[in-house]
């Protein structure tokens, strides 16, 4: 293993290289673009064998990736925001086909209006599509989870596509220390590709013609069960990754906790801002406030077991959502609230469209929460911004 200072996007490209991906469908969209640029560069320099298809849309990026996967080779794509929404149809089609595919989403806000900055709404809007959905909190995890995604996706007990989320810009463009595994380690960890069926003239199989109602429903239930059953399998492959590749980040659980065991209060969130939250928690702990954090690493499967074990019995749970489900709280809040009983859950929706929520905001928010918040769902604007004149026109002459 070597340690390098690389960006989140470079880390993902490196994972694609290490996983010996056979084909990548690429289409540019900020902030994911430098993943595909890096792959194209690696290809031009002969560092990777990956076939690169430079398609004309995200819809086609997923379709080309899907085609290659059906033909029996490891396939990858990456996108964000409008691009993910544009390929939404194919996202579902791939999951329905049960063909192993891996995609990275460099999360970004969704228009209108245009906004290129970080937000998780693009990612969470695919929550019901049947994909396994992991979310990284730093470039190292983006690399590790992308490699594990292939392992999980190609496990016969799973056979579902896997999506890895990564905060746009905040992780995708941050250069930081990343431990890059050796090719031998990954070759040892990642066995040759397996998939439930291959489209090949040698044994004509057809995928996707009409299924009658009961048959269709049975297929849907199968996705449901495979997703539920994947929980243990993800832990298993996580432990194996820790053993064979790197013990640095503990992957034996679907979610990651911080100072939670003896905590009275818990914060639940997903993604890069977990780092700032940990700093805030340390400050509050020094002040005698017993608070901890649960970081959601897998939105799907949603480990009810882990969520309950970690959160039930706390005096209160505060969810930080970087995405929206308009008219309700954020998606994480809805998930948490539907999972735990007898514990008060409050939601803060913030950080949308690139709004910066740092350590000091978190200290403020967590303290307020411990003091008691009335509203179930609060939309929070950082203090500094609050002082600014947020110009949002309302009246048009």
């Amino acid at each position: 293993m070597i340690r390098k200072i690389i960006s989140g996007n470079e880390a993902v490209a490196t994972a694609v290289k290490l996983a010996r991906v056979g084909l990548t469908g690429i289409y540019p969209i900020t902030p994911q673009t430098s993943i595909i640029e890096k792959l194209a560069e690696m290809k031009a320099q002969g560092e990777i064998q990956t076939e690169i298809v430079r398609v004309e849309s995200e819809h086609s990026a997923m379709a080309a990736t899907y085609g290659a996967a059906l033909a029996g080779i490891r396939a990858f794509t990456a996108t964000a925001s409008q691009g993910l929404l544009y390929m939404h149809e194919m996202v579902w089609w791939v999951a329905g086909s049960r063909v192993p595919v891996v995609m990275v989403v460099g999360t970004r806000a969704v228009g209108a209006p245009w906004n290129i900055w970080n937000e998780h709404t693009d990612f969470t809007s695919e929550r019901d599509s049947g994909w396994i959905m992991a979310f990284a909190s730093n470039p190292q995890e983006a690399l590790d989870l992308t490699i594990q995604a292939f392992r999980i996706s190609e496990d016969e007990r799973v056979f579902l596509p896997v999506m890895v989320g990564m905060d746009g810009f905040i992780l995708s463009h941050t250069k930081t220390n990343v431990l890059i595994p050796d090719q031998e380690q990954i070759d040892d960890y990642l066995p040759p590709r397996r998939q439930p069926y291959v489209i090949d003239p040698e044994d004509p199989v057809e995928i996707g013609n009409m299924f009658p109602p009961e048959g269709y429903m049975k297929l849907r239930e199968s996705i449901h069960l495979a997703l539920k059953n994947s929980e243990d399998i993800i832990r298993q492959h996580g432990r194996e990754y820790n053993k064979k590749v790197s013990p640095m980040i503990d992957y034996s659980t679907l979610n990651s906790s911080y100072r939670l065991e003896d905590a009275d209060y818990a914060v639940v969130l997903m993604g890069a801002w977990a780092g700032d939250a940990m700093e805030a928690i340390d400050v509050l702990r020094e002040k005698g406030i017993k608070i901890g954090m649960l970081r959601v690493r897998y939105l799907r499967p949603w480990s009810e077991k882990e969520i309950r074990e970690n959160l039930e019995g706390k005096k209160g749970v505060l969810v930080l959502d970087r995405s929206t489900s308009f008219g309700r709280g954020g998606p994480l809040y809805i998930e948490v609230k539907s999972t735990i009983r007898d514990t008060e859950v409050k939601d803060i929706v913030t950080g949308l469209g690139g709004v910066t929520v740092g350590k000091s905001d978190m200290i403020y928010l967590f303290s307020k929460f411990v003091e008691g918040i009335k509203e179930d769902v609060t939309w929070y604007y950082p203090k500094e911004v609050g002082k600014l004149d947020v110009r949002t026109p309302r009246d048009i002459e």
């Binding site: 076939e51 398609v55 849309s57 086609s60 149809e89 996707g208 013609n209 009409m210």
Partner: protein, 296 residues
């Protein structure tokens, strides 16, 4: 290139009896001929359309080839992925996109254009029944002027989008038009396409008895009539030049063309067509043949 009957009889049977197609279905004819032309080392990507349904229900499928069913706009891209994967695996496979006129002229055009521009090693077959027949016959970009469809009850006001020319403009290695009325011509074109590398486009006219409103027993006859009246040309574009099939050499001279009315009058969909519409259609046909002559 000749094609004896004996050879055809021995060719791969790409369609198995008991399909879910309507009786007299021209797409079924086209699919059978596809197998005769390309043989069994063929993978078909079927985009949404009649062909999605024709295959019938699980646990079986009427297409005797590996088939990838896929969303409307995704065919050429999925085929790109498949073709490149087979190449990587060292397999010689004909990857075919099988799409209707809606999937080609309308919703799938960006994907088609992209794959053509990249010169992907695939064969794109457009089976053109000139409307969204699978959803009950709504107009598409490929519906001809004057035709009644369920969304143009008064007759379509615009001309048919000329896809073969659009594909010629993409500078792809091979573009051909065919009609299920002339199986030998169509099969020969498939065989030629098979020998060429890169993006190949074949546009087959498939008259639909239920959308065009004629007796299903006449499917092949109408498909021939379209060619005889010069409404539908049979040509090949290859090495930068168009070659017109012998079945429609007479169309090159306006004076020897059979009147378009002979084609229109046998179909219910043109029953409201007026004289000035016929003039417009004739103009469309004139312009088309002028363009063909330019490229010969």
């Amino acid at each position: 290139m000749t094609l004896g009957l004996r050879e055809i009889l021995n060719k791969h049977n790409s369609l198995i009896s008991g399909t879910a197609a309507c009786p007299g279905c021209p797409e079924n004819m086209a699919m059978r001929m596809l197998g005769m032309g390309l043989g069994k080392d063929t993978v078909v990507v079927v985009v949404a359309g009649c062909s999605s349904i024709i295959q019938g229900n699980a646990p079986y499928n009427s297409y005797n080839l590996p088939v990838v069913n896929i969303a409307f706009a995704a065919g050429p891209a999925a085929a790109s992925g498949l073709a490149r994967a087979y190449k990587q695996k060292g397999k010689d496979v004909n990857v075919v996109v099988w799409a209707g006129d809606g999937g080609t002229a309308d919703i799938g055009f960006a994907s088609l254009s992209g794959a053509a521009e990249r010169n992907e090693d695939i064969i794109y077959v457009c089976v053109d029944n000139e409307a969204y027949m699978n959803s009950g016959g709504q107009r598409s970009g490929s519906t001809p002027l004057g035709a009644i469809t369920s969304t143009t009850p008064e007759g379509k006001k615009e001309n048919k989008k000329n896809l073969p020319f659009l594909m010629v403009s993409h500078n792809v290695p091979y573009v051909a038009t065919a009609s299920v009325g002339y199986p030998h011509d169509y099969i020969q074109k498939l065989k030629r396409a098979k020998e060429i590398d890169g993006f190949r486009y074949i546009h087959v006219l498939t008259p639909d008895p239920y959308g065009w409103l004629f007796d299903p027993s006449r499917t092949a006859e109408i498909a021939k009539l379209a060619v005889q009246t010069c409404y539908w040309p049979l040509f090949e574009y290859y090495n930068g030049k168009i070659t017109v099939s012998q079945e429609c050499l007479h169309c090159l001279d306006k004076r020897t063309r059979r009147p378009i009315k002979d084609f229109l009058s046998v179909q219910g969909r043109f029953k409201r067509v007026k004289e000035d519409d016929i003039a417009k259609l004739e103009k469309y046909i004139d312009d088309m043949w002028e363009k063909i002559k330019e490229l010969m």
